[in-house]
């Protein structure tokens, strides 16, 4: 949007929800004791809404009833599926509240099929994408170090977030069991960057930054696009379908105005869908016409297929006795991952483990804002109270990020019966964890047992089950890119094979997920797609309005 506006195109951005105003919508440094329900919120606040599950920590009593998250549009789960679909409908969507881990994908990801024989390679390789990762990193600002990891290509980095006591201890323990524990690639401004201020470490990133010290559309792309005067930003405009002309080309979109409930059409020479992966597929599946009876640009039949996601879960938690009774340290003022365990499995040999591919692990802990570990401490009275303080700097926990493999059983389609309150046919999820990712989950639990032993920690336990599918918000697939129009929805430029003036700029084009998060790669691939589209304008493949 920013790139297209800056190139002089007239852009109409059709956004599902309201505009975010950080002064009003973000928490403004309030403390939990300033809130009536101490952060728990009014339990009946979503009464009568079609979708009553909260988004995540971002949607909390801190957001004071602001209407940023989707509760009006319901979705369906097929029998046996328990997908948790969290949607931010406000301008910029989930990228306003993201976790900021920004590792590059590498050829170990793009060419994984060559290595282990499963699935298919991506239609791009690292040499082709590396310059775009650099552009994205320079634009966003990513803090990390050069690490020379085979699984994680290095990029262009701001100074890293310093290691904490817990990180040093975990790092020494990890060394002993042959697991890397290194600074994460964290898109957080440890120094001022491109006129965005350095982080002030208030620790509230997840509730939206009040000054724009990490990349978000609200602070970066939207104001820059607006400054060109080429942007028309529509809000509370829920897109239901892509409109086509007599030749089956895209000619615009139809949206429902959430306030008036009226249907409105917007026309354009090129349509770009960036609705956050599965919603992009939802819109396309609902864009049925004479030309596209099963959804626009779906001649391959692959639209909605190959839904992937990160398996999340807590494979181990406990405490570090070395730190018992130490004074509180500001461990979580960056509100961020500081260091992580980048994928180390199946790196030298793609079949060294019982599973293929690999996972990464984030570690967190130290002095936080609530002593949630108190359940581990017995008793009551002064001793109990002193124990809570004594353990305050010591507790740590892990989070596995394990990629699912594409499976014919995991996909989205349109619910044949149910419609949402705007009359739009609902999206339906079909998803189960596969054996490969469950093997990773079991593997990570053993790693935690070994790690706690190696670093002299005490393991309290581990999650019994992985988190519900959908938890990570890292869905990929459903509009995969590839060179063969019979098997892929878009080409390697994220332009749909069937409809050359329809582009996709979100993670739905990624054929599978990796052990890395998706936001920075989405930015990089979007920059590349925009560049290609501008080229197509120059070549008159597309004509300006």
């Amino acid at each position: 949007m920013k790139i297209l506006c800056e190139a002089g195109l007239q852009v109409c951005a059709v956004n599902s929800g309201p505009r975010i105003d950080p002064d009003v919508d973000y928490r403004g440094h309030r403390q939990v004791y300033d809130l009536k329900y101490r952060g728990y919120g009014d339990p009946v606040r979503l009464k009568g809404k079609a979708h009553q599950e909260p988004y995540s920590v971002e949607e909390s009593e801190y957001s004071e009833g602001r209407d940023l998250f989707e509760h009006d549009v319901a979705y369906s789960n097929a029998p046996g599926t328990d997908w948790y679909w969290k949607r931010c409908k406000a301008t910029g969507g989930k990228a306003n509240f993201w976790g900021r881990s920004s590792a590059r994908f590498g050829d170990i990801d793009f060419k994984a099929a060559d290595l282990d024989g499963f699935g298919e390679n991506w239609p791009v390789d690292y040499a082709e994408i590396a310059p775009w990762f650099s552009k994205a990193e320079r634009y966003m600002g990513v803090a990390s170090t050069i690490q020379n990891r085979p699984s994680n290509p290095d990029g262009e980095y701001l100074p890293p977030i310093p290691l904490r006591c817990i990180d040093y201890i975990i790092q020494k323990g990890s060394e002993k069991i042959g697991v890397p524990y290194l600074p994460d690639r964290c898109a957080q401004l440890t120094v001022a960057h491109n006129e965005h201020p350095a982080c002030h470490y208030c620790g509230n990133c997840s509730r939206g930054c009040d000054v724009g010290s990490f990349f978000s559309p609200t602070w970066f792309t939207i104001p820059e696009a607006e400054a060109t005067k080429n942007l028309t930003l529509l809000t509370n405009a829920l897109v239901r379908s892509v409109l086509v002309d007599v030749n089956g080309r895209a000619r615009g979109v139809a949206y429902v105005d959430r306030k008036s409930k009226r249907e409105v059409e917007v026309y354009g020479k090129v349509v770009v869908l960036a609705a956050s992966c599965v919603e992009t597929a939802h819109i396309m599946l609902n864009s049925k016409s004479r030309h596209w009876p099963t959804g626009i640009a779906n001649s391959s039949g692959e639209l909605g297929k190959n839904l992937c996601e990160h398996l999340y879960g807590n494979p181990g938690y406990g405490y570090l006795p070395q730190l018992l009774g130490q004074p509180a340290t500001p461990d979580n003022i960056a509100d961020s991952t500081v260091a992580w365990m980048p994928r180390w499995q199946n790196v030298k040999n793609p079949h060294e483990e019982k599973f293929i591919r690999g996972y990464s692990v984030y570690m967190g802990g130290g002095c936080g804002d609530f002593p949630g570990y108190y359940g581990q401490l017995e008793g009551f009275g002064s001793k109990f109270k002193r124990d809570i303080k004594r353990y305050y700097p010591t507790t740590i926990g892990a989070l596995i990020q394990a990629p699912t493999l594409p499976s014919p059983n995991n996909y989205v389609d349109i619910d044949p019966e149910k419609k949402d309150i705007f009359g739009i046919p609902q999206l339906r999820f079909h998803f189960q964890w596969g054996q490969n990712e469950l093997l990773m989950w079991e593997h990570s639990k053993q790693v935690m047992i070994d790690l706690f032993k190696a670093m002299g920690g005490e393991l309290w336990g581990a999650g019994e089950e992985p988190d519900r599918p959908g938890t990570s918000l890292h869905e990929t697939g459903v509009c995969r890119f590839g060179n063969d129009p019979k098997r892929y929805v878009t080409n390697k430029w994220a332009q749909t094979h069937d409809v050359p003036n329809l582009y996709i700029c979100d993670a739905s084009i990624f054929p599978n997920c990796t052990d890395k998060t998706t936001t920075m790669p989405i930015v990089a691939f979007t920059m590349r797609t925009c560049d290609h589209m501008l080229d197509n304008f120059k070549k008159s493949v597309h004509v300006r309005a």
């Binding site: 440094h29 403390q31 939990v32 004791y33 300033d34 809130l35 009536k36 329900y37 101490r38 339990p43 009946v44 809404k49 599950e53 988004y55 995540s56 920590v57 909390s60 009593e61 957001s63 969507g93 989930k94 990228a95 993201w98 976790g99 310093p162 290691l163 904490r164 990180d167 470490y201 559309p217 807590n314 938690y317 570090l320 009774g325 004074p327 340290t329 979580n332 984030y362 802990g365 002095c367 936080g368 002593p371 570990y373 359940g375 581990q376 009551f380 009275g381 002064s382 001793k383 109270k385 507790t395 990020q401 670093m455 309290w460 336990g461 988190d467 990570s472 936001t519 989405i522 979007t526």
Partner: protein, 234 residues
């Protein structure tokens, strides 16, 4: 474009809770996930005498207040009473806000059901305590001596002192302990007692570990914990 990773963030922020939630029925996601349409309430609790309980009777409220102070007493830092924990418990129970419980809350109906169940459990639990003190000491709980009260709570709080037939009392103790801990450590008093760094909202930089020359932290010595070690209940 879609941004990702919030759940990771959530877990890192609340790693203690995320960690413990697996084994301990104290928290669910709902905890961090409920906006409100009301202005923040005044931070300072009303003096105990003038407080009109919303849910509990005056007698029950005194008992809740006494329990909370037994769980988190005043010592070198203020206790539950000064932090207004009983008012918090009364407010949360009255509004059916599930602070404790293992229920999977996915809808308003789930939340109301969980909150209603907690109301029932609180009332039944207070009755159970009085019945227990009657059978042990022929007095209502609040009329027992501090030693008698301690012995009644100890048999609910410490595994080594568990006795048969007190299962429901133990469940009640866990419940009121959950509410007390949450009520205390979500106040400024409670967070200050921990030295919570987030009370400060602007830092020039993140300082990182103060002992990088001792990465394994083997040379650290635990500060003496002789201070206020007098009134222990263990």
């Amino acid at each position: 474009m879609g941004g990702q990773g919030v759940e990771r963030r959530e877990i890192l922020r609340y790693i203690g809770i995320a960690a413990v939630a697996a084994s301990f029925p104290g928290f669910s996601k709902w905890v961090f996930a409920c906006p409100m349409d009301h202005p923040p309430s005044p931070a300072a609790p009303a003096p105990a005498n003038s407080y009109q309980p919303l849910f509990f009777s005056a007698q029950q409220f005194r008992m809740v207040e006494h329990f909370a102070e037994m769980i988190i007493p005043e010592d070198d830092t203020p206790g539950a009473r000064q932090a207004g924990v009983a008012e918090f418990i009364d407010f949360m129970v009255a509004n059916r806000v599930p602070v404790s419980g293992s229920r999977d809350i996915r809808s308003t109906a789930d939340a109301i059901a969980a909150g209603s169940e907690l109301q029932t459990r609180f009332l039944a639990g207070l009755d159970w305590m009085n019945a227990r003190s009657q059978s042990e000491f022929q007095k209502a709980f609040l009329d027992c001596t501090p030693d008698q009260q301690n012995s009644l709570v100890e048999e609910l709080a410490y595994k080594t002192k568990f006795t048969p037939t007190t299962e429901s009392g133990r469940a009640f103790f866990q419940l009121i302990r959950d509410y007390t801990v949450v009520g205390y450590y979500t106040t400024k008093i409670g967070l200050q007692s921990l030295g919570y760094p987030g009370l400060r909202q602007v830092w020039p930089k993140m300082p990182g570990c103060p002992h990088p020359d001792d990465p394994e932290h083997l040379k650290l010595r635990e500060p003496s914990s002789s201070d206020s070690a007098t009134q222990t209940h263990s």
